[in-house]
């Protein structure tokens, strides 16, 4: 009844300019009131919340510490520049203990209790694989920074994406031509006898053969091994190079024993820096690595020809020219991997802007917007270098660095092309339902 009377009143009297101005003024006054101000701001500036699945404890703690610092640095910059779609970015951290079971629980906690917009930041492959089913069931985007082949293999689900770091298959394919051209055609593989090592075994062999090389021996090392001397006699004498991907604390023993076994007469060495991330190269026992080569995703040591974007990124994260914390020279970073957090956050930002992301109801649009991306230009948002992105396999492709150990520092001697790492996709997530 009241509405009808009001209608009639308006119709009979007409809406004069003075009445309209009074009404607008009253509305503006209400908006200025303390309670309403808070409410109206909350509507426009409600933060976008990202659940950061962090390895704060467990075997990945060193990586987790640096992934968190890199994340915080990138978020600070994004927020200073106006956030995403005008909304600030807020990071909610949960420790997964570097454990796949806890990882899945953390994804559920992010989705159902913290009510975040998406989950991000996982490194270790087993945590990613363990958490992926929960992300798929809850239909929450899961942006990982893991370098595993699990995402690109198509074995996970449409909600799992890796846009900020290349995968192991691309990395291995990228370095194979350089090894064949610069170190030798006959390589012995020394790798841990589990999934991480098997990826290197399975992907390097065929890629190396394409370059005219030959894997003359493969030495899988059981994960419980603590001494490696008995394996070295199995390395054929005509081996030009030993390709090693040992990880964990045993790597120090491995390098020391290998140095003692071969002396200065041994084959050349090529390794993946994964083994020595967060480890000071000047550590006792590592002097045997002098003159050997390593793969690095992003250089640990500031290179003379470093781009302005790279310098900007390093300053923002807080690492010195040796790749250690500016606050503690002994706190060595995980530089080869952690740039992936920075770049992934900028991909999320770009995808949210492209999808005009408003909230969890737009999660599927966010996935589709990410899948639609094809290239990331080098710059402050992508300081490691330019990249391409394949939406079918949810995986980016980029440059790799090959570095020489010289005076116990890493000097980049070759940068691979993006094409070196490209391979035929084995899956198409885009055909899966969202």
């Amino acid at each position: 009844m009241t509405e009808i009377r009001t209608d009639k009143a308006v119709k009979s009297s007409g809406l004069t300019r003075r009445t309209a101005l009074k009404g607008l003024g009253a509305a503006a006054g209400l908006m200025m009131g303390p309670g309403f101000v808070r409410y109206s701001q909350a509507q426009s500036a409600e933060p976008i919340r990202i659940g950061f699945q962090c390895h704060r404890t467990g075997i990945g703690a060193a990586y987790g510490r640096w992934y968190e610092r890199t994340t915080n640095a990138a978020v600070k910059l994004i927020n200073e520049a106006g956030g995403i779609n005008g909304r600030p970015l807020e990071i909610v951290v949960e420790d997964d203990g570097t454990d796949p079971k806890r990882g899945a629980e953390v994804v559920e906690k992010f989705a159902n209790q913290h009510k975040v917009d998406l989950v991000y930041g996982t490194l270790f492959s087993h945590v990613v694989t363990g958490s992926a089913p929960a992300a798929g069931e809850l239909k929450i985007p899961y942006y990982v920074v893991s370098e595993g082949y699990h995402v690109a293999s198509g074995k996970l689900n449409r909600y799992c994406i890796q846009p900020g770091i290349t995968d192991v298959k691309a990395q291995v394919r990228s370095v194979a031509p350089w090894i064949a051209s610069n170190i030798g055609k006959k390589v012995t593989l020394v790798f841990p006898d589990y999934a991480f090592g098997h990826d290197h075994r399975d992907f390097f062999g065929p890629a190396f053969q394409e370059q005219g090389g030959e894997v003359v021996a493969m030495l899988p090392i059981p994960p419980t091994e603590t001494s490696f001397t008995r394996y070295f006699p199995q390395i054929p004498p005509d081996t030009d190079a030993i390709y090693h991907v040992m990880v964990g604390p045993a790597v120090l023993t491995f390098v020391k024993e290998m140095g003692e076994f071969f002396g200065s007469q041994g084959p050349a060495l090529f390794g993946f820096i994964d083994s020595l991330e967060a480890v000071d190269l000047a550590s006792p026992g590592l002097e045997f690595l002098e003159g050997s080569h390593f793969w690095e995703g992003s250089p640990r040591y500031l290179q003379p020809d470093a781009s302005e974007a790279q310098k900007f990124y390093r300053d923002a994260v807080g690492i010195d020219e040796n790749g250690a914390s500016v606050n503690d020279p002994k706190d060595v970073s995980t530089a080869a991997h952690m740039f992936g957090c920075w770049e992934t956050l900028y991909v999320i930002k770009a995808a949210m802007e492209a999808a005009d992301y408003k909230g969890p109801e737009d999660r599927a649009k966010l996935i589709e917007a990410t899948e639609a991306m094809t290239e990331f230009a080098e710059g402050k948002e992508h300081p490691q270098g330019d990249k391409t992105f394949n939406g079918k396999i949810h995986q980016c492709f980029g440059h790799q660095n090959i570095s020489l150990v010289e005076n116990m520092k890493l000097k980049v001697v070759h940068r691979t092309s993006i094409e070196d790492g490209i391979y035929e996709p084995e899956a198409d997530y885009m055909t899966m339902p969202l």
Binding site: Q113, S125, E137, Y194
Partner: protein, 321 residues
């Protein structure tokens, strides 16, 4: 009370617990319902461990292998052979039971510390086997069992195990089945024989009991329960990885049982719940939460040396089974 049939009070308590858990499915917030689903499955693992440790007095440090046998026994046929859920679940239980029979036959030739070491070594062998066959298991990285494979199909009925409510109810059915069987066992002559073996093995032998056979039966039952839990975990949550065969998952059920109360039917549930929530709660406040968890466990052991339910039974409710 005859001692063979459960008293009304015991029946009522267990029925109330199951009923309470059923009601929780409809009232718990989404996150906590998911937590309870996992905890109920893992509580079945702890109850399996309790049969051997709590009632029979055999401290195994290798029960991760039985859980993992169920996990792989169910998960691998689904992943590689496209088996449906029901036969895969049965395969998981059979895998664990057969493994337990073989391990029990060998390990029960030892006692005390030697039994702990032998079970630990067998579990380590099992763990390394899961890594050795990485081609099929993907080792420590593990396998994801696709959502579309995790459906329970019976005739026209098609139930998605990924549905949170259904998953909770299936976890509750598993938990309830293991709980009821455990209750039945511990109040049966066989269960009393196990307790008697725990208290005085020599006297039982002197009285004419076949101690070895009874202990072997306990190992097989325990292994089958743990395998059922592992199989359910793989099928309900979709992940199979060798981490579940590692030493950590042999220690955890021991911890859960000790916290809740060894040789109590409901203690394993309380211990599993307590451990989950103390980690979940404290990790939200500080990075060094494991320090707080450790301190809480020490305090608990100081004031509840027989576990939460064990101490309650000792002080206030001696009728608790």
């Amino acid at each position: 009370m005859t001692g063979r049939a459960p008293s009304g009070r015991v029946f009522a308590l267990h029925a109330a617990v199951i009923l309470g858990l059923l009601i929780l499915n409809f009232v718990l917030p989404e996150y906590h319902r998911g937590v309870f689903s996992r905890v109920l499955v893992l509580a079945a693992f702890a109850m399996g461990y309790n049969i051997l440790f709590g009632y029979t007095g055999l401290l195994s440090l290798g029960h991760a292998m039985f859980f993992a046998a169920g996990l792989y026994g169910a998960g691998l046929p689904v992943y590689h052979l496209d088996w449906s859920v029901a036969p895969a679940f049965i395969a998981g239980i059979v895998s664990g039971a057969v493994l337990a029979l073989a391990i029990g036959f060998l390990a029960l030739r030892t006692t005390g510390v030697a039994f702990m070491i032998v079970t630990l070594m067998f579990a380590q062998v099992f763990y390394l086997i899961t890594l050795f066959f990485t081609t099929y298991t993907r080792g420590e990285e593990g396998l994801v069992i696709r959502q579309d494979l995790r459906h329970l199909r019976m005739g026209d009925l098609d139930l998605a195990l990924t549905d949170p409510s259904l998953r909770y109810l299936i976890a509750l059915v598993l938990f309830s089945a293991v709980l009821i069987v455990t209750l039945f066992i511990v109040r049966s002559p066989f269960g009393r024989s196990l307790v008697a073996i725990r208290e005085n093995e020599e006297r039982m032998r002197m009285l004419g009991y076949n101690v070895f056979t009874n202990k072997l039966a306990a190992v097989v039952l325990s292994g089958a329960f743990c395998a059922a839990s592992g199989a359910a975990y793989a099928l309900l949550f979709g992940y199979v990885g060798s981490g579940f065969a590692s030493i950590q998952y042999s220690i955890l059920p021991l911890l859960w049982v000790l916290l809740g109360g060894a040789a109590t039917t409901l203690g394993p549930l309380i211990g599993t719940l307590f451990m989950f929530y103390i980690v979940d709660f404290t990790s939200g406040f500080m990075p060094a939460y494991l320090l707080v968890v450790g301190a809480a466990l020490i305090l608990l052991i100081l004031f509840f040396p027989k576990g939460i339910l064990g101490s309650i039974r000792e002080r206030w409710a001696p009728w608790l089974p």
